[in-house]
């Protein structure tokens, strides 16, 4: 009798909460095209496709590699693509109107970490004497840009520009490379969009320019740039090709930093709400699969990513960073279990504070040319990052018992702001609720009241 009661109670409970799932409704648009750039952090999209999570939602998704981040962004804006693997800064900058103007939102953050900074062999040789060694002769990590500073100064003294590559003006890579350089006293240059100067080279010691991710190694090899910041597998590729040495990963610049997001237009989310929630559900399941059982599925994921229609690099190159290790100088392979995080630490939840960090860096380097109030930063973050959609998707999955409630933030109490954190290479504290105070705390960079 008691058993029946429990069954009844639990079925009542399922009925009640899966009313949620039923209410999801059929997808309004079933055939979708998603764009991506050949990088390992596009994995949730590939896995959602290959494991049939999209199809489970009644979505028929075509996945297309894009030539570069600009083409990808334009594709989403003009509707050729329904959604895409994006740089976290892209939806924010587009919504703000830096570069192309369009209201893009993100209901799903794709991963944490996953980038690295690589320098050419010759720059590495020049840096090496400035780096302390461990007992076994290997360099001590993390390597700060202090070790690069004398090299850059030498180039400047010789009248040669010190060129470095990043993937897009509003890319995580641009901000990470700038963060690292500035923390070591190397000025990466300002932007001045109000004067029409979007080259980002005002007052620069190191000149940063855009190169699409897969072309980074080739550009380094050609000698056009002396170093770059890019996502995987393009740092490990440099090691395999013997053309460069990754000096630091972004995990060491900012522990568990938010990386790519999944971007769609606000218009799409409005027009196709069911489709939006369903695609978010599929991506959540894929991210969970990627981190399940302590990364047990990673080798299978690497195999999928090495297919020519996804990332396409060799299995070994992709596996190097995807399976919890990272190879610096050839032969110097170290454990970094959190180099690629797809689900744990609430990696997929779109935190407002993550968006605000990007906004502070945009202000710091002049992409936002004038002062803004704290509330402006918060409002901007809220119009781009959409935890409400994420929450609906996650709750319906919880109701269907496809995921556990404990794997997610406590939605009832979640504010969307991570607690203040200090895990940066320069130990400066970031509190998402006080963006202006954070901007003022850097030695290099624009501060409140500054106008170029």
């Amino acid at each position: 009798m008691a058993a029946i009661a429990t069954v009844a109670a639990s079925s009542f409970f399922t009925l009640h909460s899966s009313a949620n799932a039923e209410e999801l409704g059929w997808p309004e648009k079933e055939e979708l095209t998603f764009g991506f750039i050949k990088l390992t952090d596009m994995a949730p999209i590939a896995i959602a496709y290959e494991n049939g999570y999209f199809e489970d939602e009644g979505l028929y998704v075509t996945i297309e590699a894009q030539a570069n981040w600009k083409v990808l962004l334009d594709g989403v804006i003009d509707g050729r693509l329904d959604g895409a693997h994006m740089l976290a800064g892209q939806p924010i900058a587009a919504t703000m109107g830096f570069g192309t103007k369009a209201h893009i939102i993100t209901p799903f953050s794709m991963d944490l970490n996953g980038n690295g900074i690589t320098v050419s062999n010759s720059v590495w040789e020049q840096m090496k004497p400035n780096i302390p060694k461990m007992a076994d002769g290997r360099p001590v990590h993390p390597i700060k840009a202090d070790a690069l500073k004398p090299v850059v100064e030498q180039y400047k003294a010789d009248g040669k520009p010190f060129n470095m590559g990043m993937v897009f003006p509003v890319s995580t890579h641009n901000y990470e490379l700038r963060y690292w350089l500035a923390a070591g006293g190397i000025h990466p240059g300002y932007y001045a969009p109000h004067k029409g100067d979007n080259s980002g080279k005002i007052d620069a010691d190191a000149l940063l320019s855009v190169t699409p991710p897969p072309q980074m190694p080739a550009t380094l090899e050609a000698g056009t740039i002396y170093g770059y910041c890019v996502g995987e597998p393009w740092n490990q590729q440099a090691v395999f090709k013997g053309i460069g040495v990754p000096v630091i990963t972004d995990y060491e610049i900012w522990k568990n930093n938010p990386e790519k997001v999944f971007g769609i237009t606000a218009e799409f989310a409005e027009k196709y709400p069911n489709t939006t929630i369903r695609l978010t559900r599929a991506l959540i399941r894929a991210a969970q699969w990627l981190d399940e059982n302590n990364n047990a599925n990673r080798p299978a994921a690497v195999k999928i990513l090495s297919q020519s229609n996804y990332v396409g690099a060799d299995y070994d190159v992709i596996a190097n960073s995807m399976t919890g290790t990272f190879e610096y100088e050839k032969g110097d392979k170290r454990e970094i279990p959190d180099f690629n995080v797809f689900f744990r630490y609430n990696a997929t939840y779109p935190y407002y504070s993550d968006a605000i960090w990007y906004l502070t860096q945009m202000r710091r380097w002049g992409q936002i040319s004038e002062d803004k109030s704290d509330s402006w930063y918060i409002d901007m973050a809220k119009s781009v990052y959409r935890p409400d959609i994420y929450q609906k998707a996650a709750e319906s999955l919880i109701a269907e018992k496809k995921v556990k409630a404990t794997d997610f933030p406590n939605f009832a109490e979640e504010t969307g702001f991570k607690p203040a954190q200090k895990d940066f290479i320069d130990n400066i504290e970031f509190d998402g609720s006080k963006p202006n105070a954070y901007i003022d705390s850097f030695a290099i960079g624009l501060k409140q009241g500054d106008l170029l």
Binding site: Y60, N309, A313
Partner: protein
């Protein structure tokens, strides 16, 4: 010398048949043997050179590596077909399931969403190039005829042709892309934008040789023929149909042949630049992949592109022989 040899062979039929037999073997050796020798030498040179080129992705692929890739690409294609079959099966089940729950649902079968294999890319490229080429021919030939017939029109249009003729496809592409995305807005598009972009770029680049050749052909018609038409007082349309077209056909076809080779070259470049589906995208994707197999796959694509270009040219030549009364114009 030649004629005396013929006379000689006519006089001595027995000997001549033996002579012809030897000649046949000789010419067979020449026609098959020499090209084979050329190909063989090329393969040797290629294999030798490949050995000595070290790229950061490994050695430059030799003939053996490329052959392996051809096989691998074919296997990939078969595997993808199997996946597609399963995809359609799952889709039918899902449609049935949904119909059970939601009777108002209009079930439909969506195309396979998996990757395009090498063979699929070839088909895509061929469809795109023929559409672009046909569209160009459709515009160019009437335009060429009109220009050829009227000196005034020729003077008006010629500068424009001369200016647009040398423009590279890579310059047209951004314009075409922007215009197509602005004008071609439809929730359920008939054809993909990427297809339109490639096709129009091809058309813009391959239209000129056809216009020029057609107009030159038409302008150069024998005066006697024109006079005959005058005497007979043929109406304008009849004049074009009975006199102009037959007389200008060899030149029109020469123009079409030139255009088709231009079209094929342009298409591959456009696909590479815009990442539009087709062989060009295949090459660019492989370049971006940077895997140890990428170079041999690109080489396989290069050979395929060359071979298809060659076949397209032969096809036009055959067509030209077929339609033209002046067989000598189609000798080369």
């Amino acid at each position: 010398m030649n004629s005396s040899a013929t006379v000689f062979s006519k006089l001595l039929p027995n000997q001549s048949s033996g002579f012809h037999y030897g000649k046949l073997i000789n010419s067979a050796l020449k026609n098959i043997g020499i090209p084979l020798l050329g190909i063989g030498l090329f393969l040797l040179l290629w294999a030798g050179a490949a050995q000595n080129i070290d790229t950061s992705l490994g050695k430059f692929p030799g003939p053996a590596a490329v052959t392996t890739q051809f096989a691998a690409l074919y296997n990939e294609h078969s595997a993808e077909r199997e996946k597609a079959d399963k995809f359609y099966q799952r889709q039918e089940n899902r449609n049935a399931e949904r119909l059970a729950k939601d009777p108002g649902y209009q079930a439909k079968i969506r195309n396979y969403t998996g990757k395009e294999t090498f063979l699929d890319q070839i088909v895509t490229s061929l469809i795109t190039v023929s559409s672009g080429f046909l569209l160009a021919a459709f515009i160019a030939i009437p335009l060429g005829i009109a220009i050829g017939l009227s000196k005034t029109l020729n003077m008006a249009v010629n500068p424009i042709i001369q200016i647009f003729k040398p423009v590279s496809p890579l310059a047209w592409l951004p314009l075409v892309t922007m215009v197509v995305s602005a004008l071609y807005i439809s929730p359920e598009p008939m054809v993909a934008k990427s297809f339109l972009n490639s096709m129009i770029t091809v058309t813009l680049c391959c239209i000129w040789p056809m216009v020029i050749n057609t107009s030159v052909g038409v302008a150069g018609i024998d005066d006697d023929l024109v006079n005959v038409s005058r005497v007979l007082r043929l109406p304008a349309l009849k004049h074009v149909q009975k006199i102009v077209l037959p007389a200008a056909i060899p030149m029109i076809f020469t123009g079409m042949r030139l255009s088709l080779s231009v079209a094929w070259m342009v298409l591959i470049a456009a696909e590479m630049l815009a990442q539009n589906p087709g062989l060009g995208k295949f090459v660019w994707d492989e370049f971006q992949n940077g895997s140890s197999e990428s170079l041999s796959r690109i080489m396989a694509a290069v050979i395929t592109i060359g071979f298809i270009g060659f076949l397209l040219d032969r096809l036009m030549l055959q067509l030209q022989r077929w339609v033209s009364w002046d067989k000598s114009s189609a000798q080369r």
